[in-house]
């Protein structure tokens, strides 16, 4: 029994010690609380930011926009900087959750982010007042050349019986329905009940062929040859190809989602000035380059792209595709609470089938 107490004490002590680290005081210039996607920047850049500015960064991560939103809405943690996607930014603007940015504090953003990305941002942030583009890309099919015979150019391959138990689908409602809607030639922003019903039935029909519904794990499973085909964000494609040269990324001919993830500041951000300093720092060309090389998601930072040494990457069709050559590209729109509910309900029907 004595031994037991000793071990328990040891465990408690180590827990307390770990907890203690997390509570250390904020930096000499205060702190900034950042809520970003998992593995979505080079941790080294945070250390550099802290050293240069004396602002301590409290860093937290989310896996999908849908997981992020209720946490911010509930306000349990008052995040300063968040990095949501296009439609979610639109929703947050609609619900008055974001602060207007003071671009005088964001000189690097103005100077380095390409004009076309500001224009694209107007789809969800009409006056470019709330958001600074951080990453962009497409959603497409990643396939393993050794497991797939014919060339792939269509979403319909995800319904091919030959790949039963070899398909990885995205486990998030809008991405999954995007595939189902595009396959049938509809807009991925459809709120038409009949069209959504068709997309739902397509997804139900597909379910027996799907190996698993996953999010970030598509990457590791494809690298590990677990599956032949996976739906994936273009930003992961370069990384996966680096790890497994048999993998190939393609944008399906029916069209797909072109997305932007942008930095925004919350309405009641306790550290708004620090938040702007953080966003500005992330737009510095050398920092944007470090992040691009670490996460391999396409950067809208033109100055950083110029600094990429590897020409294959700088002109890569995957990282920087010429979007004009693809038809039916769209960006997600926020569809309002009723449509959100309808999507969630239909998705639950798919998942419980």
């Amino acid at each position: 029994m004595k031994k037991w107490f000793a071990m328990a004490g040891l465990c408690m002590a180590s827990v307390l010690a770990l907890g203690g680290c997390g509570n250390s005081a904020s930096g000499k210039n205060g702190q900034v609380i950042v809520y970003n996607w998992g593995e979505y920047l080079d941790p080294e850049t945070i250390t550099m930011f802290e050293e240069e500015t004396g602002i301590r960064v409290v860093y937290d991560e989310f896996e999908t926009n849908e997981i992020m939103y209720p946490k911010v809405e509930a306000g349990a943690t008052s995040y300063d900087v968040i990095c949501p996607s296009d439609y979610m930014i639109q929703k947050m603007i609609a619900n008055d959750m974001l602060a207007e940015l003071n671009f005088d504090h964001l000189p690097h953003a103005k100077a380095n982010i390409g004009q076309q990305y500001w224009e694209q941002s107007r789809e969800f942030d009409p006056e470019n007042k709330y958001s600074v583009p951080y990453c962009w890309g497409t959603v497409g099919i990643l396939y393993n050349k050794t497991m797939v015979e014919e060339p792939i150019d269509s979403w319909s391959v995800l319904w091919d019986e030959a790949y039963k138990d070899n398909i990885l689908m995205q486990d998030s409602v809008r991405d999954a329905f995007m595939v189902g809607l595009k396959l049938n030639g509809y807009s991925m922003n459809s709120t038409d009940a009949a069209q959504l019903e068709i997309a739902k039935n397509a997804l139900i029909q597909q379910k027996p062929l799907v190996q698993a519904y996953v999010i970030d794990q598509v990457r590791d499973k494809m690298i590990g040859n677990e599956a032949a085909i996976g739906v994936i964000y273009s930003g992961e494609a370069i990384y996966t190809q680096r790890e497994n040269p048999d993998l190939e990324y393609v944008i399906p001919k029916e069209g797909t989602n072109v997305w932007i993830d942008s930095w925004v500041i919350t309405k009641d951000a306790p550290n708004k000035e620090n938040a702007e300093a953080f966003i500005n720092f992330m737009c510095r060309p050398d920092i944007a380059l470090m992040n691009f090389e670490y996460i391999t998601y396409s950067t809208p930072n033109d100055a950083a792209r110029e600094l990429i040494e590897d020409e294959d990457i700088r002109y890569s069709e995957i990282a920087f595709p010429d979007l004009k050559q693809y038809a039916n590209l769209e960006t997600f729109q926020y569809l309002g609470p009723e449509a959100d509910e309808m999507y969630n309900e239909l998705w639950k029907e798919v998942k419980s089938e």
Binding site: E66, V210, A212, Y213, V214, E226, K348, E349, S352
Partner: protein
């Protein structure tokens, strides 16, 4: 006398505060959200939504899988608990503390990590299949199926079945067993009529402690079921995290609570000795 009473109340204050803050208040919130709609008006709709096709199916699935897991846990745990409680065998080798240690050791690791490890083991190109392949044996294809979920449940919750049964068995007075044998009972009769009935309290606690976490889990089905099988725990989790419909999530939680309370009532009737309380 009065002072003594006061100091006892003072000592209890932290626990009272704890219970109110972390048990009573959250439960109250669950009931508040579960019994109101988005406008704040009283409704039973969230609770009754369990009848809808998707929710009923998720509940049946969860009940089925957790019952099977509980049964498997029981069948595995009872013989083990008997080995642990066997005094004569243990005296020589001190083996019982070793087995107990082996059983408790993995519980020091994070539950999520252990479940993720099973994913790596069971995958198509995972560790187990590579070993099978090396020996030219047929591969094991259970990842992303209900079998993998049952495996995950049994693996994670088995210690919660072993320990209460073990506790019940060691408490049995050896003289009772000797008396049975003196009176001519054979080993099977002794087991069926003396040992097993006396350990029933532990069995019931074990069943409760396996069945409830298995019924409510959402992590195991997500990680080992490939998100293809929706259990009631997954439905509730997604109502909170994805759909941000706290009302429906709470309403379904209330239904789940009924099953848990039912289970606890049953165990309270049998487990008067409180064997399960050691954990």
């Amino acid at each position: 006398m009065k002072n003594h009473k006061l100091s006892r109340q003072m000592m209890a204050a932290p626990y009272t505060a704890w219970i109110i803050l972390f048990i009573v208040v959250p439960l109250g919130m669950v009931f508040y959200y579960g019994l109101t709609d988005k406008t704040g008006a009283f409704t039973l709709e969230n609770v009754l939504d369990i009848m809808s096709a998707e929710h009923a199916k998720a509940l049946w699935y969860a009940l089925g899988l957790s019952l099977i897991s509980t049964l498997i846990c029981f069948l595995l745990a009872y013989p083990l608990a008997m080995i642990l409680a066997d005094r004569e065998g243990n005296a020589k080798l001190n083996r019982h503390s070793l087995i107990l240690l082996i059983f408790i050791l993995p519980m020091w690791m994070n539950f999520l990590l252990r479940t993720l490890a099973w994913q790596t083991l069971l995958e198509k190109t995972g560790v187990i299949n590579r070993i099978l392949e090396f020996f030219h044996l047929p591969s094991l294809q259970i990842i992303n199926t209900p079998y993998a979920i049952i495996l995950g449940m049994v693996y994670n919750f088995l210690p919660f079945m072993v320990l209460p049964i073990y506790n019940a068995l060691v408490k049995i007075d050896p003289n009772v067993i000797s008396a049975a044998q003196d009176l001519g009972a054979n080993r099977l009769q002794t087991f069926l009529r003396i040992t097993f009935p006396l350990s029933l309290g532990g069995v019931i606690s074990g069943i409760t402690m396996v069945f409830i976490p298995a019924l409510t889990t959402f992590v195991i089905s997500k990680l080992l079921g490939g998100s293809k099988i929706l259990l009631i725990g997954n439905v509730i989790e997604e109502e909170f995290t994805l759909a941000s419909n706290w009302h429906l999530g709470s309403g379904l939680s209330i239904v789940l609570m009924l099953f848990i309370i039912l289970n606890m009532v049953v165990s309270a009737i049998f487990d008067k000795e409180g064997e399960g309380n050691m954990l």
